[in-house]
Structures are given as C-alpha cells and as structure tokens.
C-alpha cells in the first residue's frame, strides 16, 4: 500500500499559537496540584508564555510563513494583530490576580483559559481558510463563555456567561451558514481560492447564493465585534462578567473579529466591494449613533464602557467602509490604541470597585481626585483618549479612520463620525466631573495599588501617550501590515 501524501506542515506558521496552547496545558496540569493561595504563580508563568509567543511574533515580522496546505498564513497582518492580542491578554492577567482574590473566585483555570482564548484569536487573524477562521472563533468563544461566568458565586456573572453562550452560539450559526453558502457557490473554503473563483467566473458575481453567504458572514462577524443591531448581548455580558474579563473581551476578541472580518472581505470578496461597503456604511452609522446615545443614559460605569465599546466598533467600521490603505491601517492602529486605553480604564475600575461589585456607579468616583490624585489623573488620561482628544492615541486613531473615509469620498460618514465623537464627550466628561468636582462620599475601601496594577497602568498610559505623540512609526507598521 502506498502512503498518503502529507501536505507541508511548516510549524513556523503556527509557532506563536503553539507556544500559548502548550503553556496553557502545562498550567492546567500545574493548577490541579497548587493550593488556592499560590494560584498567582500561574499568572507569572502565563506571562512567560506570552513573552515567548511575542518573541516569535516579533521575530517573524517581514517573513510571511504559510503552512498546512495554505490554511494558515502568518504574515505581517496577523503579526500586527497578534501583538494586540498578546498585549491584551498580558495586561488582563496583570490586573486579574487581585480581582479574583477579592471576589473569591481564585480558580487557577483563569490563566489557561485566557491563553486558550488568545490562541483562538491568533488563529482568527492568521487563518486563510474559512474553516481555520471558524475553528479559531470557536476556541476563542468557548473559552470566553466560561470566562464570562467565571465568578461562580455571583449571579450576574452566571447570567452573563449563559447569555453570552446562547447568543454567541446563535451568531456562530449565522457565520457558519454564510461560510457554507459561500463554499457552495465557489467550491472552496480557501480565501484566496474564493477570490480567484469569483474573478474567473465573473458571471457568478451576481449569484444570489454568494450574496446571501456574504451577508450571513457579515452578520456573524458583526455579532463578534458588537456592531448595532447585533450588539444586544454586549451591555449585559460586559456588566455581569468579572471586570478583568470585561476588559479582555472589549479589546482582544473585538480585534480578532475585525481581523477575520477584514481578511475575508478584503481578500476573498473584493468583487463585491460596492455591495458590502453600502452594507457596512449603514452598520457603521447605526453602531456609532446607537452606542453613543445609549451610553449617555448609563449610570453603571461598566455598562457605560460597554456602550462606548459599541460606539468604538462603529468608528473602526468607518475605516472598513473606506477600504483604502489609510482607513484599514487606521483600524489596526485604532484597535491597538483602544487596547491600551480600555484596559487602563478597566484597571482603575477594578481598583475603585468594591467586593461583589454591588453598584459600580459613576457616582462612586466622586472625589477620587482628592483621595487618590494619581489614579484620577490616570483615569482622566484614558477618558481623554476614549473621547479622542489630542495628544492621546484615541485622537490619532480617529483622525486616520475619518481621513480614510474622506479619501474614499464618504464625506457624510466622516461628518456623522465626528458628530458622534463630540456627543461621546458628554458621558466621559461626566466621570471626570464626579472625580474632580464632587466631594467624596465614603472611603475607597478596597483600594490597594499592587506592583502589577502599577505596571499595567504605566504601560497603558505610556501606550496612549506614545501612540498619540509619535504615531508615525506605528502607523507605518500598520500600513505595511495591511498589504494583504
């Protein structure tokens, strides 16, 4: 009997993911032998894993690696996103330890789950086959469902986990059905193959099956990036999930959703650009407007940041509609800066929150500047960046997104974006009014700035300011990355 020909494997193409998943499994094994009070060691070990993975990512910049018969491509695009994911999970792990001790949910599974979720995100960014992207999405989602319900003795967290699971599974169906129809119309699941097939059979380009497939995939991805009208799960899940996980979910998986969304639509379906830009135009306007207007009414700060994260997905969609080099590079740059500012803001929310998180209201921040001026200042930097005020990263990111839209002729979209951005100033400033202009009502009992928190906040502030003051270098990297 003849041996079956084995496709070229090329482990180099999946090295960052392999490192993370192996470290995750080792941590899972160490975890069952560790007593509860020593679980923090797992956090440090996972940081080592992330560092090694980051080394492989950085090392591979500029040398694309293709593997597994063209279903994985580790190019600059995925490298850029991998850095966002690794940064996001590293900062989450840094702020998670003290939180899980306070909330008495110090289960060691937290760290492996974050690593597995990051592995899934990386596969979403580097997958060049619809199946790889789907597998990455599942690895990410299943880990996230558990993480959202991680505080087992907190009813809200349980609710968040279940809601996220039900709606996430539902949205995955849309995505998978879209992929199936696309496969049915083109006969391949390879992204490059789909593009080639459509280009060669131009008569097919108005094939309704292909159009419906594209539409369903857009719905599935919109669920993941929480674009209106597919955002309904976001506020409840973000509010109920443990705060470090909320921070993680609002930055990493959103970026992963964008990575897969961008690659599928820009590489596989450029022939349908006219169709999907008009679709995304509507989505972007809806998402920005809905997110900002609803955020104004929120008193719970986690819920407010949930709606704000919906609005930020809308800004990023503006760059997607533009679909030119400036706009798409702007998305990458914006997601990177959003990771810094959002994780920084959530780190401070964890510090100010009380055990069990009874309210987390904006009014809890009254007088923070009197008691803890440094924290209030740090929070202000993050809020300024979320508003998009120079010289912070948020301003530069929005600038590139909107100028990309103008370059492609979407003047009205840019105007709506700027107006929305102006409206958002209200609810961010409200937090600052409480911090600086109101007298403190009670003590901030649970406040203890550990070295890990200090490092996180410093990294986040440094990121926000460096990206804001000297964006050229990073924008250049983003522009190289989007040449896919």
């Amino acid at each position: 009997m003849e041996t079956i020909a084995i496709p070229a494997v090329n482990l180099a193409a999946i090295m960052p993911e392999t490192v993370l998943s192996v470290v995750g499994m080792i941590l899972l094994l160490i975890n069952v032998f560790l007593p509860t009070e020593k679980k923090a060691y797992l956090g440090y070990l996972s940081l080592i894993g992330i560092a090694v993975s980051l080394f492989y990512t950085m090392n591979g910049w500029g040398t694309p690696q293709e593997g597994f018969n063209g279903s994985v491509l580790l190019d600059n695009f995925s490298h850029f996103f991998n850095v966002i994911f690794l940064l996001c999970s590293a900062l989450t792990i840094l702020i998670a330890d003290q939180y899980v001790q306070r909330e008495e949910c110090n289960h060691g599974e937290l760290y492996p789950l974050i690593l597995f979720a990051t592995t899934g995100m990386m596969f979403m960014a580097s997958g060049t086959d619809l199946m790889t992207i789907f597998l990455g999405l599942e690895v990410l989602s299943i880990a996230l469902y558990i993480l959202a319900g991680f505080a087992r003795n907190n009813v809200k967290s349980n609710e968040a986990g279940l809601k996220y699971f039900l709606l996430g599974a539902f949205s995955t169906c849309f995505l998978l059905y879209g992929m199936a129809l696309t496969y049915g119309a083109t006969g391949t699941t390879k992204i490059a193959g789909i593009a080639q097939f459509i280009a060669q059979n131009s008569i097919l380009s108005k094939n309704p099956i292909l159009l419906v497939g594209m539409l369903l995939m857009a719905v599935g991805f919109s669920f993941k990036i929480a674009a209106a009208p597919f955002h309904m799960w976001t506020p409840d899940v973000y509010e109920g999930a443990p705060t470090p996980i909320t921070a993680f979910m609002s930055a990493g998986p959103k970026a992963a959703g964008f990575a897969a969304f961008l690659r599928v639509f820009l590489v596989a379906l450029p022939m349908f650009k006219a169709e999907w830009t008009s679709l995304l135009w509507a989505l972007a306007v809806l998402t920005m407007t809905f997110g900002n207007i609803t955020a104004i009414y929120q008193n719970n700060i986690k819920r407010m940041l949930a709606y704000s994260s919906i609005a930020h997905a809308g800004y990023a969609l503006v760059g997607f509609v533009a679909a030119n080099e400036v706009g798409v590079a702007g998305i990458l740059f914006y997601l990177l800066s959003y990771t810094f500012m959002n994780l920084g803001a959530f780190a401070i929310i964890i510090l100010v929150g009380k055990k069990g998180e009874p309210n987390n209201n904006v009014s809890d921040y009254a007088g923070l500047s009197v008691k803890h001026p440094a924290l209030a200042l740090a929070m202000s930097v993050f809020l300024f960046s979320l508003m998009g005020i120079p010289p912070t990263a948020g301003f530069v990111g929005k600038f590139y997104l909107f100028s990309g839209a103008i370059k492609s002729g979407y003047i009205w979209l840019a105007i709506i974006g700027v107006l929305n951005s102006a409206a958002s100033v209200y609810y961010y400033l409200r937090v600052m009014v409480f911090m600086y202009m109101k007298a403190p009502e009670e003590d901030f009992a649970w406040l203890k700035v550990t070295p890990a928190f200090f490092v996180t906040v410093v990294i986040a502030i440094a990121g926000v300011l460096v990206l804001g003051v000297a964006p050229q270098y990073f924008l250049k990297l983003a522009q190289i990355a989007v040449m896919i």
Partner: protein
C-alpha cells in the same frame, strides 16, 4: 434535473397522507370511551409515581459530557487504525499528539475529582 427528486416528493406526499388519513379516520369511525386512566402517562403499565420533571444530580451531566469527550477520541482512532500503514509515521505522530492533549484533560478531570461518584 428536478425530475430526480420526484420519488422523494411522492414519498413525502404518501407519508403525509398516511399520517393524516389514519388520524382523521380513527377520529371519525373509532369508538370513544374516555376514562381518567387513559389520560395518565404510560409507565410500563404501573401507576405513575411522582412527576416526570425531576431534577437530576449534576453528576450525571458531568459523566455524560466526559463520556462524549473520550468517545470522540475513539471515533478518531478508528479511521487512523484502518489507514495505519498508509498514514505512516506522520499519522502516528499526529495521533500521539492528539492523545497527549486528551491525556492532559484526563489528568485534569481526574485530579479535580470529576470521576468520583460520591
């Protein structure tokens, strides 16, 4: 091309008719002698004991889930065993990796006490 579906359509129609006709005819010409006993759920002929909507111990779900996980392992092992020679060393390495990953999970559930019934 659609002609190929004709037998299926005929079968669907016949099946639907069969169901409809039996229900309708039995309700028209059948005898009706209602009694409270007939409304009770059938439980092997015995008298029903308690409600059917009991809550089961979570242990059953855990065991069922673990069973499925390791059952899937066997599902993958069979085709590999059939093509063992043709897959060669590569297949052996891949399956070894697969089993190692599952083994990590096995140690995890074991140490967590998921396999203990009490």
């Amino acid at each position: 091309m659609l002609g190929a579906y004709l037998p299926i359509i005929v079968l669907v129609i016949v099946a639907a008719l069969f169901g409809l006709v039996s229900v309708v005819m039995s309700s028209i010409i059948g005898q009706k002698k209602p009694s409270p006993v007939k409304l009770q759920p059938y439980e092997c002929g015995c008298e029903p004991v308690g409600s059917a909507r009991e809550r089961f111990s979570i242990k059953f779900y855990l065991i069922a889930m673990l069973f499925i996980l390791f059952d899937i392992e066997c599902v993958f092992l069979y085709p590999w065993a059939v093509l063992y020679k043709r897959l060669g060393l590569f297949g052996l390495a891949e399956m070894g990796l697969f089993i190692v990953i599952l083994f990590v999970g096995y140690i995890y559930v074991w140490k967590k006490g998921a396999l203990e019934w009490e």
